[in-house]
Amino acid sequence: MQRRQVVPVFVYRSVSAIITAYGREESVEQTKAILESISDGVFTVDSNWKITSFNRAAEEITGISREEAIGRECSEVFRSSMCETACALRESMASGKPVLYRSGYIVDSDGERIPVSVSTAVLRDENGSVLGGAETFRDLSEIQSLQKQLYETYRVEDFVSRSPSMQKVFKIIPAVASSPATVLIQGETGTGKEVLARAIHSSGSRSGEPFVAVNCGALPDTLLESELFGYARGAFTGAAHSRQGKFEAAGRGTLFLDEIGDVSTAMQVKLLRVLQEKTITPLGSNEEIKVNARIICASNKNLSQLVESGEFRQDLFYRINVVKLDIPPLRERLEDIPQLLEALLKRHSFALGVDVKDYDPQILPLLMGYNWPGNVRELENFVERAVVLSREGLVSFGDLPPEIIPEKSVHHSDAGTLRNARADTEKQMIVQALENNRFNRTAAAAELGIHKTTLYRRIKALGISLPSSDGRSSNATNTT
């Protein structure tokens, strides 16, 4: 994922022009004109490494005036990552040959690292004696910014994707963002539903208003009700003060209701009423409060199926399903993995202040071949872990968690027989499907393409232990 640096040919030409003109009295004015007109920074040094000239572009790139630069040690003016160990100018002075397009960075007075490409050559007088050296340098920030712009076409706010299905979503986001319509986002856990909701919020006229997110699946009915609608003082024992609900807190901004498919039918009725009447009544209060927030709902379940099975109210479904956006799981948009890996590596390297540059190309096929059941969230966890472990250089094979290495099931089979290997693989797949569906056996069986009684039989035969609370029991709690 290392990008090729683009260095124009005229960097070398400008060095040549300086060398050719330097020392020839009749060309002094011409040399000055060249130095002042070009966009590359140029400085010259004497044999003691003191700066003897510093052009306009050098002033602009470094932020140092030529008055301050001239007469100072070049390393203290240029402050480059190459000064101590890979000084191109020192090499040119030692060998008498130019050095071209060496890349590194300089640190400006604000502590910003500016990526540069440098070229150097020796300066000689008419008799061939060495007078010093010349160095030209080009600020690569602009090129990197252009690369970023290119990269930006595959993202909306923080949502990155180049997959055709997501490109369709990206295209309609401006229209969706500027409308007050309720949006339903569907996608597996970890696909970035909240990130997309935030992108819609940030792209529209409500961007200056609050974005309030509530995970409806995480709260029992009574708590969810007080969380969403608020309560008046004295509404219940211990309610010494009134509390604003999330509908009210969102103001004219966006209220994001995550895991809407997990709310109980009783709560669904209350939500339907709010969406129809655009008002809420805090618990223990008679006062109706107008709702101005735009509502975005999300679910990791297929709401149409929940409507068919009677678990989700059809009228609420129609009310929230005005604009529906589907985020495909990461395994169905493998083309996004390289870009996501790159973006996440940059983000986490910067956050941790480490210098992890790239991924070992050998591990990319493994990363692309892995199923990523936890989707982008799992990918991000992997990158963060790898950055912490690597700290510098490349993310390599040793940084991969065991589940990404495909040979695991074979290596770890107890007796090494085909039957054991098959049992191990089957066990892994069943556990994975159960986890994907929060241990709801019916949903896990559907994902595996087997009947649920077969799944029960295999769970028992393979000795898979199940948690005491599962997808069925949590749903049951919500529906009571």
């Binding site: 470094t62 932020g63 140092i64 005036s65 301050e68 630069a69 100072r72 040690e73 390393s75 203290e76 003016v77 240029f78 402050r79 480059s80 990552s81 000064c83 101590e84 160990t85 640190v107 400006d108 007075s109 604000d110 502590g111 910003e112 690292r113 910067f350 941790l352 202040g353 480490v354 210098d355 700290r391 510098e392 250089g393």
Partner: protein, 158 residues
């Protein structure tokens, strides 16, 4: 001789400070982020009690660079240019950082010891006129060092 309270440990000691300077060719190394040599000077009661050169592994990355300073129990760092994230890590480690300093290392150390370090001559070009954010920060911090032996907010005279 001053007694000082180490603000990190709370201990009252004879003014004892471990000072690190990144050096290269006898001068302050131009960029801390890639500096290869560290001069470690321990001062106690105004006198130098330890003075040694340590190599700074270049292959260690930023974490190990900052960690090794913490492990050496460095109180004060004098260095050349330093990038912003690294500066933040150093400051978060409780190290008093005097960055964007240039000149002969011996002279800078001397100036640091006698309290004349806030002379604009020691700032790197472009940093002495308050242009750089970090440059201004340094300027503001240096003036405090006179009374307790010149070692900033980490130490308090008692």
């Amino acid at each position: 001789m001053f007694l000082a309270r180490n603000m990190h440990t709370g201990a009252v000691e004879v003014n004892k400070v471990r000072l690190a300077i990144t050096v290269w060719n006898g001068r302050i190394a131009p960029v801390f982020d890639v500096a290869g040599t560290l001069r470690l000077v321990e001062l106690s009661g105004g006198a130098v009690v330890q003075d040694q050169l340590l190599s700074f592994p270049r292959d260690g990355g930023m974490f190990s660079r900052v960690t090794s300073l913490s492990q050496q129990k460095i109180d004060v760092l004098v260095c050349g240019a330093v990038s912003r994230p690294v500066h933040r890590m150093l400051a978060d480690s409780g190290i008093e950082v005097h960055s964007f300093v240039s000149g002969d290392a011996e002279e800078v150390l001397e100036a640091f010891l006698n309290g004349s370090f806030d002379d604009a001559a020691y700032f790197m070009p472009g940093c002495g006129r308050g242009r750089g954010r970090q440059g201004r920060g340094r300027g503001a911090g240096i003036g405090r060092r006179g009374r307790n032996g010149g070692f900033g907010p980490g130490w308090k005279e008692v």
